[in-house]
Amino acid sequence: MELEDLKSIWKSGETVFQPKNEQEIAIMLKGRSISIVNKLKRNVWFELVFAIVVSLGLLLYALSLEQGAMKWTSISLLLMCLASTIYFIKKLSVLNRVQGINDNLHDTISFLITNLTSYLKFYRNSYTVLYPVYFLLGLLFSVLERGTDKFVVFLSQPSTIVYLLFMAGLCFLVSTWFTRWYLKKLYGDHLEKLKKILDELNQQ
């Protein structure tokens, strides 16, 4: 069976493509892109706006308070939100580099693999840093709640040290596992698919 035979079979059964009219095309162009990069960008924009709104709320709340534990709690949360804002902006700048749909398939896939890998690495690493920060914040709130003196006494007990070490280890393991699982579920399979396609393209 030659290629020409296949072409004639194809032409014999080919259904006539129904051209779309202007209205249908206009509706399509108004739709939202569902490409993976655009979806990622939309998620990050949502997180960024949320972080900014919460930051403003916390700032106003902190300014309205006199001295006290709640004021310092609000300020520390505000600092966390500001750090998150910078993190989301960095994420967006990484995603904005992921373009190149005009290149040929081989180059586009190579480019996407490199950029998505670095994006996921950045995502994973930032969470690896953020979880210990959350843990330390938890300790800080505990200090604020109990008072410094009581907290020092509490911390000097061996059972407390063992408990804190155990909790820190558990938090680290669970959060690392969860981040890896979440990223793999969301984008890992797509990345694996892209790698397989690139391998196939590189074979002679």
């Binding site: 059964g13 259904t15 892209l194």
Partner: protein, 138 residues
């Protein structure tokens, strides 16, 4: 030929139209407009698109497994259905290449769109043809 589910197929078509629209300003006329359009469509279908998980509808299952078309059941129609089924068994790259070949796209343009050499296109096309032959006439 890339998606069996009708809704997913429509989503993909819309995404390709959107990407063509967005990318048109970057078309520099260095290649044929058809090559450029194939490139955008393939990049969208294969690399930039992660399909939604949906439950297949009965009509899609019917379409996928029985490949029912509106035409009659003469030899040509049967061969066409076999060809459609066989193409669906190929990998995404092979599917893209054979679809372009069936649409009379020259090897030079296929090579340019996929990003491999013309010689490689020729070799791969022979392999694809052999695979289709085995699938259609086991």
């Amino acid at each position: 030929m890339y998606e069996n589910d009708r809704d997913v197929r429509n989503d993909l078509f819309q995404e390709i139209v959107l990407q063509l629209w967005k990318s048109f300003s970057s078309f520099r006329g260095e290649s044929k407009i058809s090559t450029w359009m194939y490139r955008i469509a393939l990049n969208t279908a294969i690399s930039g698109y992660r399909k939604q998980t949906r439950l297949l509808k009965t009509e899609d299952l019917r379409e996928m497994h029985l490949n029912i078309s509106d035409a009659g059941s003469d030899d040509y129609d049967e061969n066409f259905q076999k060809l459609q089924w066989a193409i669906r068994q190929l990998s995404e790259i092979e599917r893209a290449m054979i679809m372009m070949a069936l649409e009379e796209i020259p090897y030079e343009e296929i090579a340019e769109t996929i990003g491999i050499t013309q010689n490689n296109v020729r070799v791969r096309m022979n392999r694809i043809r052999e695979k289709l032959k085995k699938l259609m006439c086991p």
